[in-house]
Symmetry: D3
Subunit: 243 residues, 6 copies
C-alpha cells in the first residue's frame, strides 16, 4: 500500500486555476497533491540570435523553487550566483517538451517564455510544470491570436507529463510524491501528447538498474496518468481542438 | 482624485492569509490591492559567524520577484548571476526592521530567515513584505515557543510599513500603487511600531526635493495607514499582546 | 560629552581640495575629520540605453573603499567578485542625490560618472562623498561649459549631506565619527539643497526605535551642519550662483 | 543508406587505449569513429559533506570539450565563467551511470573523480565518455585494490552506453555521428549493464514525437551496440569477472 | 648530475606531431619529455573591437590544463568560475610571443586563436605551448594562403621557447622538468626568434636573487636549446623560409 | 630628446611620504613623476592553508587603480566581477619581489598584506608599487618588532624596481612615462636588491624583438635608476642596515 492510501495506478488530486496572476499573457496555478507551481507565459517580439531572419519562433523555459517550497529551506540560486545543474536540466526539458507540440513557423519571429515557479514542492515538480505550462502557453497563444499578433493557433496537440517509478515495497507506481521518490529504485519522467506519442522518456536507476519488463509496466502506468491529466487540461481549454 | 478612486489618506484593500504554505514554520500570503507577497519564516539552529557564542539570535531577510510579477517580464537574478542593488536594499531594510522589534537575546542562538517572494507587483512590495513578514515571524515564534525551542515570545511590539508620497496632481497620498509611484515627485517608505515609534524613514526626492511641511504631512498619512495595517495584523495574531 | 570634545551640534573640521588629480574633468579630496574621500567626475558622450534619443543626460555614481581605509583590512570587492549590498545602497544614494539638483535636459545626451573612493574612513563616508561629489561635478560641468560641450550650467542649487544620530550617552549629535556611529541607537543621513529643501532622509533605528520629537531634533541638527558644509563648498565654487 | 556507408545497426570503429596518461590512477583514450575522449579516474581520500561518517564512497564526473574539438571553435567555459546546462546534464549523467554499477559501501570513505575531456568530437561524446570512464574507473579500482587502499573490487557488472535515433531518411539507426544527430527526429541515449539491464534511458523528440513501436526498435538497436562495446571493454579488463 | 641523467645543457626528447586533430585549421601535439600539449589554431573572420577598420589582424591565445595533467588533480577553472592569475599570465605570454614574429597587417582583419591544452604536465608547459603553437599557427596560415584567404605568409621568422634555471645541486640547467623547477632558486623562461633575437625574458628569483654572471650563463643555455627546438620545427615546416 | 626634457638615463622626480594614512601598520604615498600610488601594509596573525604549521610567514599583494587614475575612465574590476589578467600579473610580481628579500621564517606564522592603490597613473605603476611597498613593509615590520610581535627585522636587503625600454626615437631610456611606454618597441621591468642582485627581469618585445646588446644597455640603465631609488628609500628608513 502507498503511504497516502492511493492505488498504484492513481494520480494525486489535480487542479488547474487559469489566469492566476494579472500580468502574464497566460498563467495558471497547477496543484498536484501538495505540489503547487505557478506557470506564466510571456510573448516577446523577437527571437534568439541563432533564429533571426528565419521567420520562425522559439519557446524557452525557466524553472525555480521558492526557498521554503521545500521541507528544509534551500538557498536561492540568485544568492549562490549560479543556477544548479538540476535546474538547468529541468528548464531544458520543459522548453524541449513544449516545442515538440508547436509549429514554430506559425509563431512568426516571437519568443514564448515560460516561467515555472514552484510555490510548494512534494515531488513531481518538473512534470507538474510541463502540464501547467502547456495550459499557460495555450492561454497566451489564444490571446495573441485574438489580438491578431499570431495568425493561427500554432499548437498541434495536447501535452502532459507525469512520473512513474519502482518502489521497494509498493512496486511500480504512478505519480510519486516526494517521500516515494526519495526511496524509489527507478524513477522515470514521461512526457506524452494528446495522440499518445512520446515526447520524452527519462528513466534512471538510482544506484539500481531495471529490466525491459519493468519498462513496459512503467510506460503503461504513465499512459493512464497522462490521459487523465489531459482530460483536466481540456476542462480549461476544451474549446481548442488543435486540428 | 486618485486613479482608483481612493481618498488621499486611504489604504488599498488588505488581506493576510496565514499558514499559506505547508513547509515553513510561519507563512502568510499578504495582499495589498494588486500586490501579493508570500512571506515565509524559517528558524535555523545556528547564527552567523559574527554572533557565535553570544547566546543571541539573528534575523535576516531575502526578497525576490517572480519574473512575471510585473507588467514586463524581468530577468531572473539567478540567470544574471547576481542580485541587483534594489533587491539588496530591500532585503537589508526588511531584516533591519524586524530586528528592531525583537529581543534577539530571547531567541537563543537561532537565525530567523524571512523569505519575501512577490507573486504579483503593483507598487509597495517592500512595505507589504515587511507587514506580512512580521506576521509570518510571529507565527513561527509562536510555534517555537509551543515546542519549547524558544522560552518566551521575543517580539516586543507590532510592526508594519507603508509608503507615502507627493503626486503631481493628487498631492500627498497614502499607499501608492505602481502607476502613482512612477509619477510621484517624492516617495517615502515608513516603518513604525505598535507604539507609534519610527523604525525606519526613507524619503527620496525623485529628481525633486521636498520641504519640512511636506515631511510633516507625509508622516501624518503614514501613521494613519500603519495603525490600520496593525489592526489587520491583530485579526490574525491578536492573542499576543507582546508585553 | 563627545569623545573628541566636540559640541553635540558641531561638525568635524572640513577641507575640500579641488583638482586633486590631473586626469578627471573635475576632482576633489574632501576631508571630514579623519574621513578622506577622493571624488572624481567624468563626462562621457553617451547615455544608458533607457535614455537614448531623449536629449537628456544621466548621472551615476560608484563608491569604494581602499582595503586599509578601515582599522581592520576589508577584502576588495574585486577579489570577492561582487559588490556588497552596502556599496550598492551608497552608490545609488549618491547618484540619486546629485540628479535631484541637476536639470538633466541641459546636459544633452551625456553621462556624468562620479567615482567616490574612500582613502581613509572614520564614519560619514557616504555623506562626505555626496558633499565632495557635488563640488567635483560642478568643476566638471564648468569645464564642459567653457569648452562649449554643454550650453549652460545644469546645476540648480547647492547640495550637501551629513549624518545625525542619537547616542546613548551624548544624546542627539551631528556628524558622527565611526565610534559614535557604532554605538548610536538611531542613525540618520540627510541630504539637503542650498534652498533648505530635503533631497533624502534615511533614518534607521539600530535594534531601536525613535519618536517624532527625536526626528525633529535630528532634522534641526542636520540643517545647521548642511548650511556650514555648503558655506565651505562656496569657498571653492562661489562664483556660481546657480540661478 | 547512412552517409559513412554503415549498416543501420552498425557501430563505428571502437578503440580503447588504456593508461593513456601517466598521472591518473586510471586513464584511457576512447575512440569511437572520429570522437576521441580522454577519461581519467582519480581516487581522493574523502567524501562530500552529505556522506561523511557513513563509511560509504562517492563517484562524481566532470566533462568538458577542448575549444577546437568541434568544427567551429566553442568558447571555453572557464572564459565564460560558468558551466553550460548541457555540460551539467552530461556530467550528472556520467556520475549517476557509474554509481549504478558500484557498491559504494565497498569503496570506504573515498571519492572517485572521473574527468572526461573530449579531444575531438563527432557525435556521441557523452556515451563514449561513459563507456571509456567505466574502463578508467576499473583500472583505478584495480590499482587501489592491489595497494590495499580498497579491500575488494566494488564494481558489480560491466557498463556501456550508446546512442540510437530515428533519421528522416535512414530510419532507426545505431551510434549516430554528428551529422546524423543534427538531423535526427528522435535521439536516445541508453546506458546498460553487462547483465542487459537498463541504467538510463533518455529519449527525446526534437520538435517531433515517437511511438511505442519506435521505442522498441531503438531499444533493440541499443542492446546490440552495447553488447559489442562491452566486448571491447573486456579485451582491456577481461580478467575481472565482477562476481 | 640531473635526476634523469641529462647533461646540464641538454633538452628533453622533443616530438611534434602535425595535424593532430581534424577540425582546427592547424594543430599539433607537442611532446617535451613527459609534457604533452595539444596546440590548435583557428582563424576567425573578424578582429576585436579595438582593431576594427584598421585592416590589421590579431593573435590571441588560451591555455588550460586537463585536471589530471598533473600528479594531483587540479580543480577545473570552469568549476571555479574564474581563470587563475597563472593561466592569464601564460595566455598573455603566448599571444604576445606569437604576435612578435607576425606582420599583423598581412593577415587582414582576421583573428588567429591559439588554444594550448596541456594533456600531461611535467614542467615547461608554457614554453612547450609557445614552441608548438608556432607550428600550429604556420600550418593554419599555410592553409589560409592556399585557399587565398590570406595573400601571403605573414610570419617573419621562426619562434621557440624554453626554460632555464639555477638548481641548488645541479647549478645552471636547460629545460627544467617539474621536479627541477620546484626546487630551483632561479627560474627563467626565454622566447627567441630564428634570427637569435629575444622576444621575451622572464627571470624570477624564487625567494632568492641572481647576479649578472648567472644571467649570462642562463642566456647561453637558452640560446643552445632554442636553436635545437627550431631545428625540430623545421622538420615539419621546413619548406617555409619566411623571407 | 625625451618629451619631458629628461636625459635618457634620468629618473623622474621621486617622493615617498611615510605614514600616509592612519589605519595601516605601514603606509606610504609614493610619487614618481605624475604616478602616485598609496602602498599600505597589514600584518595578519595567520598564514594561508598551504603554510600552516610550518612556523613561516607569507607576503601577498593586491593592486588596483582608481577608475580615474587614467586619462580615460577604466571600469572598476568590482563592477566587472573579475580581476583582469594585467592586475593578476602585477600583484603576483609585487608579492614575489617582496618575498625574495624577506626571511619568511623570521616572520612567524603571520601574513603581510600589501595593498597598492594607484591614485594617479602615468606609466611605471607596477615598479613604483614595488618601490613604495618595500618602504611600507619595512615600516610595518619595525612597528611589529617594537611591539615584540616579531622578534627581529626579517628583511635582508633593500629592494626597488624601475622600467627601462627602447624608444623608436629616443633609443634606450630609463623610467618610461605613459606616453613613452605606449610607443616603446621593448619594455623591461627590473627589480633589484640593495646588493645589486636581480630579483626579477621581465623584458618584452611589443610586436618587436631585441638583441643581447640591447639587453646589456637596458640592464645598465636599470642599475643606475635602482641605486637612486634605494637612496631615496634610505632617507625614510635609513636607520635600518638590514644586516
Amino acid at each position: 500500500m502507498r503511504q497516502d492510501g492511493r492505488e498504484n495506478n492513481e494520480l494525486r488530486p489535480i487542479h488547474i486555476e487559469p489566469n492566476y496572476t494579472i500580468h502574464p499573457e497566460g498563467s495558471v496555478l497547477i496543484t498536484v497533491g501538495n505540489t503547487k507551481v505557478i506557470c506564466a507565459a510571456t510573448i516577446e517580439d523577437r527571437v534568439p540570435p541563432f533564429l533571426r531572419g528565419q521567420g520562425k519562433g522559439w519557446i524557452t523555459a525557466e524553472y525555480a523553487m521558492l526557498p521554503r517550497a521545500t521541507a528544509q529551506r534551500t538557498i536561492r540560486e540568485s544568492s549562490k550566483g549560479k543556477v544548479t545543474g538540476r535546474t538547468m536540466e529541468i528548464q531544458r526539458l520543459i522548453g524541449r517538451a513544449l516545442r515538440s507540440v508547436v509549429e514554430l513557423e506559425k509563431m512568426g519571429e516571437k519568443t514564448l517564455w515560460i516561467d515555472c515557479d514552484v510555490i510548494q514542492a512534494d515531488g513531481g515538480t518538473r512534470t507538474a510544470s510541463i502540464t501547467g505550462a502547456f495550459v499557460a502557453m495555450v492561454l497566451a497563444f489564444k490571446k495573441a491570436v485574438n489580438k491578431k499578433q499570431i495568425k493561427a493557433m500554432p499548437v498541434k496537440t495536447y501535452l502532459a507529463a507525469t512520473s512513474v517509478g519502482i518502489h521497494p515495497t509498493a512496486g511500480p507506481i504512478l505519480d510519486l510524491c516526494y517521500q516515494e521518490d526519495s526511496s524509489a529504485d527507478v524513477d522515470m519522467n514521461i512526457v506524452m501528447t494528446g495522440q499518445g506519442e512520446f515526447v520524452e522518456i527519462q528513466g534512471t536507476g538510482e544506484e539500481a538498474t531495471f529490466s525491459e519488463e519493468h519498462l513496459a509496466t512503467l510506460i503503461g502506468l504513465a499512459k493512464k496518468g497522462i490521459r487523465e491529466l489531459i482530460s483536466v487540461q481540456k476542462t480549461i481549454i476544451g474549446d481548442e481542438s488543435f486540428e
